[in-house]
């Protein structure tokens, strides 16, 4: 049903129709709760919810978890590419925030504590205390012809740690460290428990469905609004407003009450009885511009 609010022409004016009311009835027959409009509204709302999920889980929670929450894991720097006998090559060496030591994580998934850091045969002078901030990195190899080749292994080094920004590899080529979003996404965990990439995938999926086929999201929308959003909102509202009321309003009320004691003329709510008339004289006529204010 089109609303005249969106119309740009004025049919009644053009037809010179007198204001009798007759013109509107056919549409009013079906004006009440049009089901087509209602479905369209629900789809729009479902789409908004999908996009909101994408923004919240994929961008905000994902980003925060990448930037901040992974701090506890403290990934370190690459130290060596030489594998001891019977072992696969070392992929990544990590600074373990729990034991405060370096660990080698082997490509078969096991980890061993390391005694020292060795980079290209030399002990690396990396002080764990300098590891501040985190940048996900990816190893690239620059060959003799100057082309870059991606080794595929991912690293994380502290921001500004220039000494590991480029590593000379045993075969003579140079490994350069570049930021790797994919690695960060794959390893980061929200609060150390929930894998960030799961959350981000859920957000992206809902966002995509919301944009492409919002009708599919309508049942989820109903569930979310009814069983998750409403109770959460109910609780939050009471919590926050309760705090505002008791931490702001009540002390202010107390202060005002103390200030007013013994001064009966200071009575903004007019609770005290007084002699004479209770009529209050209005201020002199107001300027017409008072219509332009909301107060």
């Amino acid at each position: 049903m089109t609303s005249p609010i969106q119309n740009t022409t004025a049919p009644g004016l053009a037809a010179g129709r007198p204001p009798t009311g007759a013109a509107v009835l056919p549409d009013l027959y079906k004006a009440h709760g049009d089901p087509v409009e209602e479905r369209a509204r629900l789809r729009g709302e479902a789409r908004k919810l999908g996009v909101a999920f994408f923004v919240f889980f994929s961008l905000i929670i994902g980003g925060l978890s990448l930037i901040a929450f992974n701090g506890a894991l403290r990934p370190g720097v690459v130290v060596s590419f030489a594998a001891p006998a019977g072992r696969a090559a070392i992929d990544v060496a990590l600074w373990d925030g729990v034991t405060d030591g370096w660990r080698a994580r082997w490509s078969d998934g096991q980890a061993t504590p390391l005694d020292a850091l060795v980079v290209a045969g030399r002990e690396a002078a990396v002080d764990p205390a300098e590891l501040k901030g985190l940048v996900p990195l990816r190893l690239q190899v620059v060959d003799a012809a100057g082309r870059r080749r991606d080794l595929g292994a991912a690293y994380v080094v502290p921001l500004g740690a220039a000494r590991v920004a480029a590593l000379e590899l045993p075969d003579g080529t140079t490994a350069r460290a570049v930021p790797s979003f994919v690695h960060a996404v794959r390893t980061a965990k929200l609060l150390g428990v929930v894998p960030t990439h799961c959350l981000m995938s859920i957000g992206a999926l809902l966002g995509l469905v919301g944009v492409v086929a919002p009708a599919l999201l309508v049942p989820f929308y109903r569930f979310w609004m009814g069983y998750v959003a409403a109770p959460l909102g109910w609780f939050n509202t009471r919590l926050i407003l309760g705090l505002v009321f008791f931490l702001m309003f009540t002390p202010m009320a107390l202060v005002l009450w103390l200030k007013r004691r013994g001064r009966p003329e200071d009575d903004p709510l007019g609770l005290a009885e007084r002699p004479g008339s209770y009529w209050r004289r209005r201020e002199r006529p107001r300027a017409r511009t008072h219509f332009e204010r909301t107060f």
């Binding site: 005249p4 009644g12 204001p19 407003l241 903004p268």
Partner: protein, 608 residues
């Protein structure tokens, strides 16, 4: 041409009103379209309708105005919480979310609903809107104005003076002291719903004895000679709580509030009678004060309390003013009309023309949509409903004959009424001489309490012949006694009956519209405003000698008054009405196909 759109919304009874060059083009309440009583959402459908009626779109609007000042109201709320904390948490938690989310951004909400409108949104003060709705459409060049309601921003009662297009408020009484809230407190206490049950309290009052008047005036209220007053807040709970009255109130009036739908006892009737008397006293004193200050000959009234037609009638008969005009949409819906008129006359400074024939500018308050005859025919045919098409000439005679035979007829013809009363556009009508009519209509058609009285729709030329009332009362806002000569005196035995038992004793030759105290809520029907209804009454008078019909609103209890032909047909089929007139189509109940109703419709409307 200059178009001003007035809007009332977000509290109760949202509405829209369109004024073109100072003339009322259209006005309607949102509840009629959404079928949700007292719908407070933005009046989207009502705005749509108003624009269509004028044949314009949003882009043609020159000014859009809201009927009160949200920020002032918010300030009042905060002040109240500061005055009552640490009490008031629950009310705070209820009120704040809506304010923070919506009401503080009222201008934005309105803009969102009116895409294409880029000019300023104007805000009138609540009681200025009421005052404007009372004075500007009134038939008086110069008059005093009195507005009384629950509460607006701060004011609950104001008075002022209007002359030409100038209107100035001179004095006011502020929240929490309020006649409207006092009445609401008794509405709550007698077990009715606040904001809609006040009418029932007024209807109940004549069954009781005002034995609590002294208690009200000595304990809970200080009413001064000049009509100003003070409510003692220990007895009320509405400032900080979710109830109207406090436990101290219960102590004064002997017990807790009646629970909704419980048996009505003599105590409730006495309470109703008492608060009614106090309201009348306050209004009379206020009117005298206003007369003294302004010296005006005429009075205009608006605000919810001005819908108290019993008080209005008594005030008129006191003769303090030569005449009184009450805005038919005196409640908050009328604020939309008031603010639109105020923008035209006060903000734009345009002159005001008073009709030389002494008529007001409300057009009989018939400002809503009308069913078109051809559309109605098409609709009825499409749903397979048999009907008889009446010519304009035969219509009054046919209806009068049916009425005389005791049939109850639904009317859905002409433009819909603006304001709470049905005035013949969307009415149920019947023969007032019938002894059972009141009971039949209440219990079988409206499904509501049997004590509630019905109003007489009367020819204006005959009103003085039947009632102690000598002038038009087109909006059913004046109650006057039925003349002695039409009354039936009660026998001694009947005198002894108490309260509602008296209901079954016919009090006059038109018992259906005569209340137990011989009063009647008069409506006079103007031939120019509502020609069809006028002619039906006239034809009824020619047949029976009685120039009166019972007129009640076309709805069942808790339902908004019907709007469209479809609403009318649905309501007709659900109740025990005999005939229905839509435009000029007459529909007879027994001929109708079986009506397929979804679910239990009686649960569709919450009891009011």
């Amino acid at each position: 041409m200059t178009y001003v759109l007035g809007i009332s919304a977000f509290y109760h009874d949202s509405a829209a009103c369109l004024v073109r060059d100072g003339e009322l083009v259209a006005a309607a309440q949102e509840e009629r379209f959404t079928r949700k009583k007292h719908d407070a959402r933005f009046p989207r459908n009502a705005v749509d309708y108003c624009l269509r009626e004028a044949g314009i779109t949003v882009s043609h609007l020159d000014h859009v105005a809201f009927y009160d000042k949200p920020l002032l109201k918010f300030e009042r709320l905060l002040q109240t919480y500061l005055g009552t904390a640490p009490r008031g948490l629950r009310s705070f938690v209820m009120a704040m979310p809506v304010w923070l989310k919506e009401k503080l951004g009222t201008a934005g909400l309105i803009r969102k609903e009116l895409p294409g409108y880029r000019k300023r949104i104007l805000f009138g003060e609540h009681h200025e809107s009421h005052a404007a709705s009372a004075f500007y459409p009134s038939p008086f060049e110069e008059a005093a104005v009195l507005t009384i309601d629950g509460v607006g921003e701060w004011a609950t009662t104001t008075f002022g003076r209007g002359k030409g297009h100038e209107l100035e408020l001179l004095g006011q009484i502020d929240f929490p002291h309020s006649i409207g809230l006092l009445y609401s407190a008794f509405t709550y206490y007698t077990g009715f719903k606040v904001n809609s049950g006040e009418y029932k309290v007024m209807g109940l009052a004549p069954y009781g004895q005002p034995r609590f008047v002294d208690a009200i005036l000595s304990k809970i209220m200080d009413l001064r000679e000049d009509g100003s007053f003070h409510l003692r807040m220990d007895y009320f709970d509405y400032m900080s709580g979710l109830r109207m009255t406090s436990s101290r109130f219960d102590d004064v009036f002997g017990g807790p509030p009646r629970t909704a739908e419980a048996q009505l006892t003599q105590r409730e009737m006495d309470l109703a009678a008492s608060v009614q008397v106090v309201t009348e006293m306050a209004m009379e004193r206020q009117a005298r004060h206003v007369k003294e200050v302004t010296g005006a000959d005429y009075l205009c009234m608006a605000g919810g309390v001005a819908l108290n037609c019993v008080s209005n009638g008594k005030l008129l008969r006191k003769g303090i003013f030569k005449d009184i005009f009450v805005q038919p949409a005196a409640g908050d819906a009328g604020g939309a009309l008031g603010v639109a008129m105020a923008v035209w006359h006060k903000y734009l400074g345009k002159p005001r023309m008073v009709s030389p024939d002494g008529r007001d500018a409300m057009k009989g308050s018939l400002l809503g949509p009308a069913p078109d005859h051809d559309d109605a025919k098409r609709h009825l045919t499409s749903i397979g409903a048999p009907f008889r098409e009446l010519s304009e000439e035969e219509l009054p005679g046919v209806l009068a004959e049916l009425l005389e035979q005791g049939n109850v007829i639904g009317l859905c013809q002409g433009r819909m009424e603006f304001g709470p009363r049905a005035l013949g556009g969307r009415s149920i009508i019947g023969d007032p001489r019938s002894r059972d009519m009141q009971k039949t209509m209440n219990l079988k058609i409206k499904y509501r309490e049997s004590f509630r009285p019905f109003a007489p729709a009367c020819l204006p030329e005959d009103v003085a012949d039947w009632f102690e009332h000598d002038r038009p009362s087109p909006y059913m806002l004046m109650v006057a006694p039925v003349l002695e000569k039409h009354r039936i005196a009660m026998t001694e035995e009947q005198q002894k009956l108490f309260g509602i038992e008296k209901l079954n004793v016919p009090r006059s030759s038109v018992p259906a519209i005569t209340h137990v105290d011989y009063s009647a809520r008069i409506q006079t029907v103007d031939e120019r405003d509502n020609p069809v209804f006028y002619r039906v009454i006239k034809a009824f008078k020619e047949r029976t000698g009685v120039p009166i019909l019972v007129n009640t609103s076309y709805n069942v209890r808790g339902e908004p008054i019907v709007c469209t032909a479809e609403d009318a047909y649905r309501c007709f089929m659900r109740t025990e009405m005999d005939y229905l007139l839509i435009a000029r189509c007459l529909i007879k109940k027994p001929e109708q196909p079986k009506f397929d109703d979804k679910g239990d419709w009686r649960k569709e409307f919450e009891l009011d």
